[in-house]
C-alpha cells in the first residue's frame, strides 16, 4: 500500500526487506507465512522496476552453471503461481529455442546442452533443417538451435505486484512510495530510517534493492561494483499466432516472443536510464536497429506495427551473476541484487532461498557460486 498517510512504523520487527521487486516481495511473503513480523519498504511501487519492466523470459537455457540450481527451483515455482499468488501471471511453458547462426555458435549450444545434462536438464539439439521444417517462419540464415521444452514466458507486469499483494495478505507491512534513507547497525540488529525521520528496528535486514542494491550495501561498509543495465524493449500490435516458443540468438543481442494476446515482443540493445530518478527510456537508434534484426529473424512480422517501446533498470555485476547470500561482514544482513538482466525467472525462488537463510540459517539450493564472498573480501569493511 502507498504510504500516503505516513502511518507510524512498528518499533521493532523480525525482518526488514528493502526493495519490493519479485525477490523482495516473495521473501517477505514467505517470512510472514512463517510467522515473522516483516516490514517491506519500496521506494516507488512494488514490482514496478526491473521486475515489472522486463521482457518476460522464463528461461533456464543459456544460464551459467552457478545459476542453474536456483533457476531449476524457480521453474518449479512458476507452475504453482495460481496457488501462491492467485493468478498464473500469464506464464506459458511454450519452450525456449536458442538459435545459432554459425557452426561455432552451434558448437557452443552443444557444449551448454552437455553441461546442463550433468545437472539433469534435457535440451534438444536441432539441426538447421529440422528447425526450418518445424518453424518455417524463421529466416533462412538459421544454422541450428537448441530447445528447452520447459522454458517459456510470462507477463512481468503481474508477477511482482501479485507477490506484493500476496505478501500483504500474509501480513507483511508493505510500504510503497517509501524509500529507505538509512540502514545502520543497532546493537545486534538494524535501524532503518526514512527521510522524514520515522524509523524501525529489525533483527534481520534483507537487501533486495535491485540496481540500488550496492548503494544499500555501501551503507554498511560493503563495496560492490554494480552497474545499471537497461535493455531496450519493443512491442507490436497483436496479430494471429505466428510462433509459440520464446527465442534467443547466440551473440545476436535479440530475443523475441509472441504474447498470448498476439503482440510480438522483442528486445535488443540498450536504452538509457538514470537510476537516481527511476527514469529509463528506450532509444530510437536502438529500436530501429532491433526492428531490422527482428525482421531478419522472422520476416512475417515486417508488416506489423510497433505500438510501444520501453526500457527499465536492472543492476548488473561484472561477472553477470547476482549477489545472493549472507553478507560476508554483517551478521543478519542478506543480499539478493545485481541480477544482471536475467533475474525475472529467478525471482520467486530468490524469495524462498532468502527465507530459508533467515529461518533455517541455510538452504538446500546450491547458491555457492553466487555468494557475495566472490568479490574481493579486501574491499569489505569490518563489521
Amino acid at each position: 500500500m502507498i504510504d500516503a498517510d505516513k502511518k507510524p512504523l512498528p518499533q521493532h520487527v523480525d525482518a526488514v526487506v528493502i526493495g519490493g521487486g519479485t525477490a523482495g516481495c516473495a521473501a517477505a511473503m514467505h517470512l510472514a507465512n512463517a510467522g515473522k513480523r516483516v516490514v517491506l519498504f519500496e521506494q516507488r511501487l512494488a514490482g514496478a522496476q526491473a521486475s515489472g519492466q522486463n521482457y518476460g523470459g522464463v528461461r533456464q537455457q543459456g544460464r551459467c552453471p552457478e545459476e542453474l540450481p536456483i533457476s531449476f527451483r524457480a521453474r518449479r515455482i512458476w507452475d504453482r503461481l495460481p496457488e501462491i499468488v492467485g493468478h498464473d501471471c500469464g506464464f506459458r511453458p511454450s519452450g525456449h529455442i536458442k538459435l545459432a547462426r554459425t557452426a561455432e555458435e552451434f558448437a557452443g549450444l552443444e557444449a551448454w546442452a552437455e553441461m546442463a545434462r550433468g545437472f539433469g536438464l534435457n535440451v534438444a539439439i536441432l539441426s538447421g533443417n529440422v528447425l526450418r521444417a518445424e518453424h518455417n517462419y524463421l529466416g533462412s540464415w538459421v544454422y541450428g538451435g537448441s530447445y528447452c521444452a520447459t522454458d517459456g514466458h510470462a507477463n512481468p507486469r503481474l508477477v511482482g505486484p501479485l507477490f506484493a499483494r500476496a505478501a500483504e495478505r500474509a501480513g507483511v507491512d508493505l510500504r510503497e512510495c517509501c524509500p529507505v534513507a538509512k540502514l545502520e547497525r543497532d546493537g545486534a540488529g538494524f535501524r532503518v530510517s526514512l527521510a522524514d525521520g520515522r524509523s524501525t528496528r529489525a533483527d534481520v535486514a534483507i537487501n533486495t534493492a535491485g540496481a540500488w542494491g550496492a548503494d544499500i550495501a555501501a551503507q554498511l561498509g560493503e563495496t560492490y561494483d554494480e552497474h545499471v543495465l537497461s535493455p531496450n524493449m519493443i512491442v507490436t500490435e497483436p496479430a494471429a499466432p505466428i510462433f509459440a516458443a520464446s527465442f534467443g540468438v547466440c551473440g545476436g543481442d535479440i530475443y523475441f516472443r509472441q504474447t498470448p494476446r498476439g503482440n510480438v515482443l522483442f528486445g535488443g540493445g540498450r536504452g538509457i536510464s538514470d537510476k537516481s530518478r527511476l527514469w529509463a527510456r528506450p532509444l530510437a537508434t536502438v529500436s530501429v536497429q532491433a526492428a531490422a534484426k527482428m525482421i531478419g529473424f522472422i520476416p512475417a512480422v515486417a508488416h506489423l506495427a510497433v505500438i510501444r517501446s520501453w526500457s527499465g533498470i536492472d543492476g548488473s555485476m561484472p561477472d553477470d551473476r547476482p549477489v545472493l547470500g549472507p553478507s560476508p561482514s554483517v551478521p543478519g544482513l542478506f543480499h539478493a541484487f545485481g541480477f544482471s538482466g536475467h533475474g525475472f525467472q529467478l525471482g520467486p525462488a530468490v524469495g524462498e532461498v532468502l527465507a530459508d537463510l533467515v529461518l533455517a540459517g541455510h538452504t538446500e539450493t546450491d547458491i555457492s557460486g553466487l555468494s557475495p564472498l566472490r568479490f574481493t573480501p579486501s574491499t569489505i569493511g569490518a563489521a
Binding site: M1, P161, L283, A284, T285, V288, I295, A302, V306, R308
Partner: protein, 463 residues
C-alpha cells in the same frame, strides 16, 4: 552561435500562426504535420479544395478558414513545411518522424508543439457498434469527404460542438433524430453570463439551438442515454423509456488535448478539473518548464480555434524573446488579453457543458472502456480488487486498459474516473498515461527505411 533550428508540430490554427510570426522574423521554421494539407482539424481541407466553396465547407467560419489558408500560402516559401509527417518521439533535442514509408530524425533547438485535440468520449453500452462515430469524426466525414455518417443521425454528448455538428448535418440533408446533451439547463443558465466575453460566438451558439428547434429536432438537456442498441433496421439510442431510432450516432463530450509529445519532451502535466483531463503545464505565453519547449493551441488545453491562433502567435513571440530577438511588447500584451478573454469564455462553456465523468461509476459491467484491448468495466473492477492498482499506469500494466494502439488517448480519463469511483481516490491523484514512443503505430519494416529529407536515425541504415 549556430542558427536556431525551430520545429513546429501541427499545422492547424496555432501552428500556422506560430510559423507566420517566426517566418516574419526571418527564421525558417520546420512545420511538420500528419495531414495532407494545412488547416488542422477545424479548417481541414478536402482532398481537392477547389471543388467546394469556402462558405459551404466552413459555414460561419469561412472567413477565418480562408484567412488561415491564405496566410499559409503566403508564408509557404519562407518556411520548411512537411505534410504527411508523423512525429513519433522526442528525445535528445531531436524529433523522430515517420514519413514516406520510412523514419528519420530532425534536430531542433526550439520545439513548438501545436498538436491540437481529439474527442473526449464517454463509454456507454453499444458505443462500439458500427455506425457510432465521434462528433469530430462525424464532422470530418462531412468536411473532408463530403459525406454523412448516416441518413438519420442522433447526436449524444455535450458541448458547443454537439450543436454545431447537428446543425451542419441538418443543413447537409441529414435527418437529426435527436440531440441529447448531458449539460443541464440550470448549469447553462447559471454560467451564461460568462459568455459575454465573446458575445458574437455566444449568439451564434444560441442560433444553432434555435435552428435545431425550428427544424423540429428533439433537443434534450441534462440527459445521458443508457445505451445504444442494435435494432432490426439500424440503431436506437435508449434514454429511459424512450428510444430514438437512427442509423448512426455522433458521440462526444468536448475535446481533450493531445499531450503525448509534450510528455516525451519532458513537460509535466497537470489535471484540469474543469475539463476533467490532463494538460501540459504552461503559461499563457506558451512557455513550459522544459527549456526550449513551447505549447500552443488546444494541445495546451482546450480554448478553441480562435484562441489557438492567438496562442500560436504568442508562443512564437516567447520563442523569439528567448532567442534575444526584439519583440513588440504591445503586440504580446494584446495577444495575452485576447487569450484571457477566450479563457473566460471557456470557463463559462466548461460550466455549461461539464464532462459528466461521475456518471461513469454507474456503467454496467459489460460496457467496453478501452476499445483497443476490449477492456470492460467489469475487467477494471476485477483488476482493482485483485491487484489494487495505485494509478492509471498500474491499471494499464495489470489490466491492459490503455495498452493498445492509441496508448490510452481515448480511454485514459475514463479509466481514471472509473478507478477513482472504485477506490475513492481523487481522479487527479491517479496520474496520466505515460506516453511511449512511437506515440502512434509505425509498421516495423518502415522503421528499417530512411524517411526522405531527414537524417537517418542510425547512420549505417542510410543505404
Amino acid at each position: 552561435m549556430s542558427a536556431p533550428a525551430i520545429v513546429i508540430v501541427g499545422a492547424g490554427p496555432a501552428g500556422v500562426r506560430a510559423a507566420e510570426v517566426l517566418a516574419g522574423a526571418g527564421l525558417r521554421p520546420i512545420l511538420l504535420d500528419e495531414g495532407d494539407r494545412c488547416g488542422g482539424q477545424i479548417y481541414r481541407q478536402p482532398p481537392d479544395p477547389r471543388k467546394r466553396p469556402y462558405a459551404k465547407l466552413y459555414g460561419t467560419e469561412a472567413e477565418r478558414a480562408r484567412a488561415l489558408h491564405e496566410t499559409f500560402s503566403r508564408i509557404a516559401p519562407e518556411i520548411d513545411y512537411r505534410p504527411r509527417t508523423l512525429v513519433w518521439d522526442v528525445a535528445g533535442g531531436q524529433v523522430m518522424v515517420h514519413a514516406g514509408g520510412g523514419v528519420g530524425r530532425i534536430p531542433y533547438s526550439h520545439l513548438l508543439l501545436a498538436t491540437g485535440a481529439t474527442d473526449r468520449t464517454l463509454p456507454l453500452p453499444g458505443w462500439t457498434l458500427p455506425g457510432v462515430y465521434t462528433l469530430g469524426g462525424a464532422q470530418i466525414a462531412l468536411k473532408a469527404q463530403d459525406c454523412l455518417i448516416g441518413k438519420r443521425v442522433a447526436f449524444v454528448g455535450t458541448g458547443p460542438l454537439l450543436y454545431l455538428v447537428a446543425v451542419q448535418y441538418a443543413r447537409a440533408g441529414a435527418e437529426v433524430a435527436a440531440v441529447i446533451d448531458s449539460g443541464t439547463r440550470a448549469a447553462q443558465v447559471a454560467n451564461a453570463l460568462g459568455l459575454l466575453a465573446q458575445p458574437k460566438v455566444a449568439l451564434r451558439g444560441l442560433g444553432f439551438v434555435a435552428e435545431l428547434k425550428r427544424r423540429g429536432v428533439p433537443v434534450l438537456k441534462g440527459a445521458i442515454p443508457e445505451a445504444i442498441e442494435q435494432t432490426a433496421d439500424g440503431l436506437a439510442v435508449k434514454l429511459g423509456a424512450r428510444r430514438f431510432a437512427c442509423d448512426a450516432v455522433g458521440l462526444g463530450y468536448g475535446l481533450r488535448a493531445e499531450t503525448q509529445l509534450a510528455d516525451l519532451a519532458g513537460v509535466p502535466r497537470r489535471f484540469d478539473a474543469a475539463q476533467q483531463t490532463w494538460v501540459p503545464e504552461s503559461g499563457a505565453d506558451g512557455r513550459t518548464p522544459a527549456a526550449g519547449v513551447y505549447v500552443a493551441g488546444d494541445g495546451a488545453g482546450i480554448l478553441g480555434a480562435d484562441a489557438a491562433e492567438l496562442r500560436g502567435a504568442r508562443a512564437a513571440f516567447a520563442l523569439l524573446e528567448d532567442l534575444g530577438k526584439p519583440v513588440d511588447a504591445a503586440k504580446t500584451k494584446t495577444l495575452e488579453a485576447g487569450i484571457a478573454r477566450w479563457a473566460r469564455f471557456r470557463a463559462a462553456i466548461d460550466g455549461m457543458f461539464p464532462v459528466p465523468a461521475a456518471a461513469l461509476a454507474a456503467l454496467p459491467d459489460d460496457a467496453v472502456v478501452c476499445r483497443c484491448e476490449r477492456i470492460t468495466v467489469a475487467d477494471i473492477r476485477r483488476v482493482a480488487a485483485l491487484a489494487k492498482p495505485e494509478d492509471v499506469n498500474r491499471l494499464k500494466a495489470f489490466g491492459r486498459a490503455g495498452m493498445g494502439r492509441c496508448q490510452g488517448r481515448f480511454c485514459g480519463e475514463n479509466a481514471q474516473a472509473i478507478l477513482a469511483a472504485i477506490t475513492g481516490a481523487a481522479p487527479s491523484a491517479l496520474g496520466a498515461h505515460r506516453a511511449q514512443a512511437p506515440i502512434k503505430p509505425i509498421p516495423l519494416d518502415d522503421m528499417t527505411r530512411v524517411a526522405p529529407n531527414t537524417d537517418p536515425i542510425v547512420e549505417e541504415a542510410a543505404q
